[in-house]
Amino acid sequence: MSTANTAPLSELQSVLHPAGADAAIIHQFSWVLFVGGTIIFVAVMALLALAMRRGMQKDARPVRPMLWIFGGGIVFPVVVLTALLTWSTWRSVELAPQTSHQALTISVTGKMWWWEVRYRDPANGREIVSANEIVIPVGESVYLGLTASDVIHSLWVPALAGKRDMIPGRVTGLNLRADKPGVYRGQCAEYCGEQHARMAFHVIALPRPEFDAWLARQAAPGLAADTQLLQRGRAAFLEQRCQACHTIRGVTDSPENMQQQIADTSRLGPDLTHVGSRRTIGAATLDNHRGTLAGWIADPQAIKPGVFMPPSNDLDGETLRALATYLEHLK
């Protein structure tokens, strides 16, 4: 179990801890700006202090205004800015090309206020839908195809790359590459409404074999409910009509539910087929376990006011516990 206080360094959302080639270049730009800006600021302040001191002395030597105006005001900025422009252009060319060519493609859709993440099953080309976690293989180029379904959002994982806006009706793209395994926090970087601040996610970089195993598990339907408690939880899920917004593959699309004309793959809320395998719920709002799941189901409005999920006030305690346990079981 992790909290912000005990998170390892890689989980910090920090521009100053780059973990990918592009982020390293951005990191270098930042430091050149910070240090260069500081040096120039201090120098200008020192000159100002000198000038004021000289002004108070009666027998000071006269300054040569042309030298300072042309030297400090024209020659110096032209030289510095030209050098910066040349250097930054040269460095920018080294940023990864933004292309899906020869890259693993993952689709991410920004929604108020969470992230839908879709993978393609290498076995049959079918889509595997998840939410709020982008799992990628380490050391490989990953192309995120980005869009939004309601308002403009922006995807930003400071440790891996720059920002890219997600615009309804358009597809934009961002290439990511993580150089070392780890968990990198990201968040929405474009104000998108009441819960913009709680619209976060994690990028989880795994070695290729682990990534393949993870994807194969995600491709499978939701785990069977094999105890009485879990069956009770699954029944509660269907009785409460959670499937109006959420999908659990293997449950909400089963033949008997299809007959009852219950929506099979609703995309209004996150796909819950493997919700138990995720680290957080509510787009990185809470850790993920039966306790937080129960609290969230009981009243998401208290935890993330304005979120589209309504509170549930007609579940008895035991049923709610069963439902939370069932969701936790969906690893």
Binding site: A294, I303, L320
Partner: protein, 136 residues
Amino acid sequence: MRNLYCHYERFRRVLRTVALLSCVTLVSACHQNDASTETSRVPGGDPERGRLLTQQYQCAACHFIPNVQGANGDAGPSLEYMGRLSYIAGGIPNQPENMIRFLQNPPAVKPGTLMPALGISDEEARHMAAYMYTLR
């Protein structure tokens, strides 16, 4: 002119009183915090570790708990005065042993509760109970 000076003197006196009062409040507030961590009603329980555990298990997803970061959810009751309640969970005497048992396995103590067992160990529950008794 004299009138103005009188006003000035009165203003200064008021200011001094306000400053003194806020100092006293601050000092007493600090003192209160110290006292709450000094004594523990639960043998072997460390309230500060309990506070951190309460935060780690994200109990605040359902409860309002003073000095614990979290969502301050409302699925469960506020724990603001947990330490001075006579009964917990609607009818169980608020004794350390009951508190520890309840934290570890709520449905076993109070059937029908929506509070789930989170796999809290005996030692962890002891620290958390110690923290609960500081909430007065």
